[in-house]
């Protein structure tokens, strides 16, 4: 049940981010200065943490989405659904740890 709540919340969060993400990227069609200026306002530690949270949400939604597909299409999916959730959480940690090390050292490394 909680995996469903998590999937739903991350789905909505990603959707609203995507709306904004397409809008700011569209500034490349306005001028190089406009795009680089707006992207420049994202280059601070607070946004860096926000980006980390967003990637965490996407990675969970992606792996849990694959779990839903496995439950629906794989004969034994239902039987193993709880174990698949553990797999989702373990994979999430395995992907997030190296990601966070790299991303946060870029964000806080200040170069």
């Amino acid at each position: 049940m909680w995996s469903w709540v998590g999937h739903r919340i991350t789905g909505v969060v990603i959707f609203f981010f995507l709306l904004v993400h397409v809008l700011d990227t569209s500034l490349v069609r306005v001028s190089p200065e406009a795009y680089t200026a707006v992207i420049g306002t994202y280059k601070n530690p607070i946004m860096g943490l926000g980006e980390a949270g967003l990637v965490a949400a996407i990675v969970f939604h992606a792996f849990n989405g694959l779990r839903i597909v496995a439950i629906d299409f794989w004969k034994k999916g239902n039987k193993y659904q709880a174990r698949l959730l553990w797999a989702v959480l373990i994979l999430w940690v395995v992907v997030m740890v190296p990601f966070l090390i790299r991303h946060l050292s870029i964000v806080f490394g200040g170069h």
Partner: protein, 154 residues
């Protein structure tokens, strides 16, 4: 006794004469259900590739400026990649949010209004994003800052 039978969901609550829609809509909900799963699997590849190339390689997110985007979209490979990602993610996300609106907005008028706003936003974003990808000029005339290095070669 023979094996027990299990009734279809809602069959006790809703009179059978209301459980089948007459005419029109066909198997839309079934197609949407399948689309969520197919697009999801493809999106894993597209989004993980997108995040890896933009956030992990080279200087990571620090490297992102106009020149970075221009360098990517000068290649049809990334144009197609991003186009597919835009369409699939927007349609997948819109259908997901449509489900959520149907689940929680119980008044007819509220549901209609929210879905209208949703569909308008979706069309605007898909059309805008598609136009940007295809009408993009990596070396716009008169621009000086942040151009990709290959612009000076012209």
């Amino acid at each position: 006794m023979a094996t027990p039978t299990i009734d279809a969901p809602r069959s006790g609550k809703v009179d059978v004469k209301y459980t089948r829609r007459k005419g029109g809509k066909g198997n839309f909900e079934m197609a949407a259900w399948l689309f969520m799963r197919l697009s999801g699997v493809v999106l894993v590849v597209l989004i993980f590739g997108h995040l890896f190339v933009n956030l992990m390689v080279g200087d990571g997110i620090h490297a992102i400026d106009f020149g970075f985007v221009a360098g990517k979209w000068a290649s049809p490979f990334w144009q197609i990649w991003d186009l597919l990602m835009l369409w699939l993610a927007m349609l997948h996300g819109t259908n997901g949010v449509r489900t959520i609106i149907n689940d929680y907005a119980e008044r007819n008028a509220t549901r209609m209004t929210l879905k209208t706003v949703l569909y308008v936003a979706t069309v605007v974003i898909i059309v805008l994003g598609t136009l940007v990808i295809f009408t993009f000029d990596p070396c716009p005339a008169g621009a000086v800052t942040d151009l990709p290095s290959f612009c000076t070669a012209k």
